[in-house]
């Protein structure tokens, strides 16, 4: 079997596996499949979260499995495993049909100095991470691909082919931005083959840096080489195999070896250093520029106040989420939580959670609500931004009765929009759907004289802040659907001691006392 065939089998396998994981991230099919495996294998995710949190969360240890072949063989991940790389390999071939002429293809695969941009991006992201702002997910290919699939591709396919991915159509705020970003990156293959992989990819830059120590690489035998440059014809990484190999750029696709008419190229163990450019070529001043811009994500992002006193009431995080600043240290914006959420309540934040929180998950109770007996988002989160909580831990039952439930926020009435409060009309759907027991929403019966002179008895609802968990089903089910008469805001969330509403967490609530006396 030719090595190119083996590589193609690997590419088809891993690409299919990725799509399989994307599709089955659904309550109906999810049966313990490791749907976040690609993210857990991603060494940049593990490395960057280790910088921000000084921990490596659960399955992220799998990234060592990917590190080892990189240290030995180089960036084999980029052309054999990475589903986003495979996408660009395929679309680069598809869109590169205009480059049929051999000469044009050879020229399009020569190294260009703009390929150092990915290292500058990586440096910027690492600097941001050092300050506690995790931004790798903006451009990490696995995060980017998962996010694109979950928020843009699947929902739009489902519009055309209803019921393929969802029982009921999903909506994602800002999906069009994510979708067009995918199109743009794919479309750039017309200009530069594998534009994303060569120019942008911070994971590629990370693996490229590691692969400087790789023991095997493509080696050219200068005495056999006739300088025909045919090795460049299909070179994926633009790593200059026709001269000194740029080790950090090589995707180890092996195309050059098969394309060489003189058998001058081989994959060699510990070849001489003078035949290679070992380290990535990055101009120090541009690296410094990257570092400064990376600091901006922390400096400007954090000083904009969204993670602190200026927090937005709509930044309601999924149950099990860590405190906001730690959330920004952990969330990689892969949006796996958004994919798996059974009610579509989770939405990618555009700027609601600030610059640093771009594409991180927040709840939009207009679109969905947090299902009481569900912790799926926490199960798929690869980094522990949403800790892997159990239903008991979420609802504060059993062993966790003393500490009480996880609260996402608190519901507040807007009396001017509420039917029984200001429109002489009975309702209290909110009280009906309130899932906690005793209900956080209660109502008081009042008899009023209507405008027409007749009396009406109706129930007016109230919220007990000691019992409300902020699930948002009241808001979701409110008949005033454009802007509900009861709305949940982030205040009272248990993950943050600074954002609690009740000093005692509701422990001294009259209802709770009454309930415990009844027991």
């Amino acid at each position: 079997m030719k090595i190119r065939t083996a590589r193609r089998i690997s590419q088809v396998f891993f690409f299919s596996l990725f799509l399989f994981f994307v599709v089955i991230s659904d309550l109906r099919y999810l049966k313990g499949y490791p749907v976040s495996l690609f993210l857990e294998l991603d060494p940049l995710v593990a490395f960057a979260t280790a910088i921000t949190t000084h921990t490596i969360y659960k399955g992220l240890l799998w990234s060592l499995v990917l590190l080892i072949p990189t240290v030995l063989l180089g960036r084999i991940f980029c052309n054999w495993i990475c589903p986003y790389g495979i996408l660009h390999h395929f679309t680069g071939w598809l869109l590169g049909k205009g480059r049929d002429e051999e000469k044009i293809r050879i020229e399009s695969n020569r190294y260009r100095s703009i390929y150092q941009i990915k290292y500058i991006i990586l440096i910027g992201m690492i600097v941001a991470a050092l300050f506690g702002s995790l931004q790798i997910g903006l451009l990490d290919p696995i995060c980017l691909f998962h996010r694109s699939m979950s928020t843009a591709i699947l929902p739009s396919l489902n519009l055309v082919f209803p019921h393929t991915f969802y029982v009921r159509q999903y909506f994602h705020i800002g999906a069009w931005v994510i979708g067009f970003m995918l199109f743009l990156l794919v479309g750039m293959n017309v200009v530069i083959p594998r534009f994303f992989c060569r120019v942008i990819c911070p994971l590629g830059a990370f693996l490229g840096t590691i692969s400087s120590v790789a023991l095997w690489r493509i080696e050219r035998n200068p005495s056999k080489c006739v300088d025909c440059d045919l090795c460049l014809k299909n070179c994926e990484g633009a790593s200059d195999p026709h001269t000194q190999l740029r080790k950090s750029e090589c995707f180890v696709c092996f195309n050059c070896i098969e394309d060489c008419p003189e058998d001058a190229l081989s994959f060699k163990f510990v070849p001489p250093l003078q035949h290679e450019l070992t380290m990535p070529a990055v101009q120090p001043r541009r690296a410094l520029l990257g570092a400064v811009v990376g600091f901006g994500f922390f400096g400007f992002g954090r000083s904009s106040g969204a993670a602190d006193r200026g927090y937005d009431k709509k930044v309601i995080r999924p149950p099990g989420s860590v405190e906001e600043k730690e959330f920004l240290e952990r969330c990689i914006k892969c949006d796996q939580c958004i994919r798996v959420c059974p009610t579509n309540v989770l939405q990618p934040s555009i700027f609601t959670a600030g610059l640093e929180g771009l594409w991180t998950p927040i709840l939009d109770n207009k679109i969905g609500y947090c299902e009481l007996n569900c912790t799926l988002c926490s199960q798929v989160c690869p980094t522990g931004a949403i800790q892997r909580i159990s239903i008991e831990e979420k609802t504060g039952l059993g062993k966790f009765a003393a500490q009480g439930p996880i609260r996402l926020g608190t519901a507040f009435y807007d009396h001017g929009r509420c039917l029984p409060w200001s429109m002489e009309t009975p309702c209290v759907v909110c009280e009906e759907v309130c899932p906690v027991s005793p209900k956080a929403i209660f109502s008081r019966e009042v008899t009023i004289t209507k405008r027409d002179g007749n009396e009406i008895t109706l129930r007016r609802p109230y919220v007990d802040p000691a019992l409300c968990i902020g699930c948002g089903i009241c808001e979701h089910e409110c008949p005033v659907t454009d802007e509900a008469a009861i709305r949940v805001t982030a205040i009272g969330e248990t993950r943050s001691r600074e954002r609690r509403l009740l000093m005692d967490g509701g422990d001294t609530s009259a209802v709770r006392e009454y309930e415990s006396r009844k027991r």
């Binding site: 659960k58 590190l67 035998n221 000093m503 005692d504």
Partner: protein, 344 residues
């Protein structure tokens, strides 16, 4: 790695170099680097591994415990003194003198933290903050008794710099060379307490890192929710975080302050009392001259006197006093204690 390389094996210096040959030294270095990277990453990965999740917001909390700043061994001396007079200086000196003088409380070399109430950006005449003359006299007495350093600090409701400036306390600090500590983010650490409501709360710890004695100097004020703000509620200004939640359980919290802080001495400045529109006041007509200073070691006794005799109200309604008294944190029946009433 330590294997010495044989120069004759170096292709650079050999006569007929094999272009692809690598010296043994280089080979070991390169395989060593690759192996080292794998080993290092594996070691670091296992070291940093977080195999278990936690429940955010419910982590066990730890915090510091404040020491007891009371002094012992004062046989027969009163625990409370009430002085009436014309000026802050005379009256405070008379009250402290009646307690046995400042040397009863302060020894040579003590670092004394004086806690004024500077909660609001108000001029002294409005009686919403500790009067600069009160601070000056207490600080002078403390320095006269041999204290090596006096620290003053508060975490005001209004902007700290404005509060210290306009209350006139910064001028006193500058005049007497006192250490004025503003509440900075790094000045706070969690405090652990087994209070009725106060369990774990962020505390203005910086002033206490070196302090050996603590004196509270509080104005006597009306308070919209708590009825009164005197020497016990003064400690509110040592806490940080979401203090606006304290109002949900104000009397429990204020009684917890009597558990949290065991001061060396408290001084209640009743020279001019804010009778209404507290705790901020705002009009001179809210202030009534009472010409009295109460000093003592039991803030519950002092506040009890202040409420009935300075604010001239019924002690039965002041819930926190009863809570603290019933918990044994002080004695609200000051008449049953050893006290002296003097004229300056």
């Amino acid at each position: 790695m330590s294997t010495p390389s044989d120069p004759s094996q170096n292709p650079e210096s050999a006569g007929a170099p094999d272009p692809s040959a690598v010296s043994r030294r280089e080979f070991l270095l390169r395989t060593g680097a690759a192996g080292g990277l794998i080993a290092g990453a594996t070691f670091a990965g296992l070291k940093l591994w977080q195999p278990n999740h936690f429940i955010p917001g419910f982590e066990a909390q730890k915090g510091l415990h404040l020491p007891d700043y009371r002094v012992t061994g004062a046989k027969g001396l009163p625990s409370m003194a009430i002085a009436h007079g014309a000026t802050h200086d005379q009256t405070i000196r008379a009250a402290i003198g009646a307690l046995g003088g400042m040397q009863r409380f302060i020894q040579k070399g003590d670092v004394v933290m004086i806690k004024p109430n500077v909660a609001f950006d108000r001029p002294p005449a409005l009686a919403a903050t500790t009067h600069p003359d009160a601070l000056r006299t207490v600080a002078k007495l403390v320095l006269e008794a041999g204290a090596s350093k006096v620290i003053i600090a508060d975490n005001p409701i209004n902007s700290p710099t404005g509060c210290f400036l306009k209350s006139g306390l910064r001028a006193v600090a500058d005049e007497l060379n006192l250490d004025l500590l503003y509440p900075e983010a790094e000045s706070f650490s969690p405090l652990q307490l087994d209070g009725e409501i106060l369990r774990n709360w962020t505390f203005f710890h910086e002033p206490f890192k070196k302090a050996t004695k603590v004196i509270g100097v509080a104005p006597c004020k009306d308070h919209n929710l708590c009825h009164a703000s005197m020497t016990t509620k003064n400690w509110y200004g040592l806490l940080g975080g979401r203090r606006n939640q304290f109002h949900q359980h104000i009397h429990s919290i204020v009684s917890d302050f009597a558990l949290m802080m065991k001061p060396t001495l408290v001084v209640l400045d009743g020279m001019n009392v804010l009778m209404r529109n507290g705790p901020t006041g705002g009009r001179l007509s809210d202030v009534k001259p009472m010409g009295t200073v109460v000093a003592g070691t039991d803030m519950i006794s002092v506040d009890s006197y202040g409420y009935s005799h300075l604010l001239e109200r019924d002690i039965a309604e002041l819930t926190y006093i009863h809570k603290a008294h019933n918990r044994g944190l002080g004695n609200m029946n000051w008449k049953d204690t050893v006290y002296r009433e003097v004229q300056a």
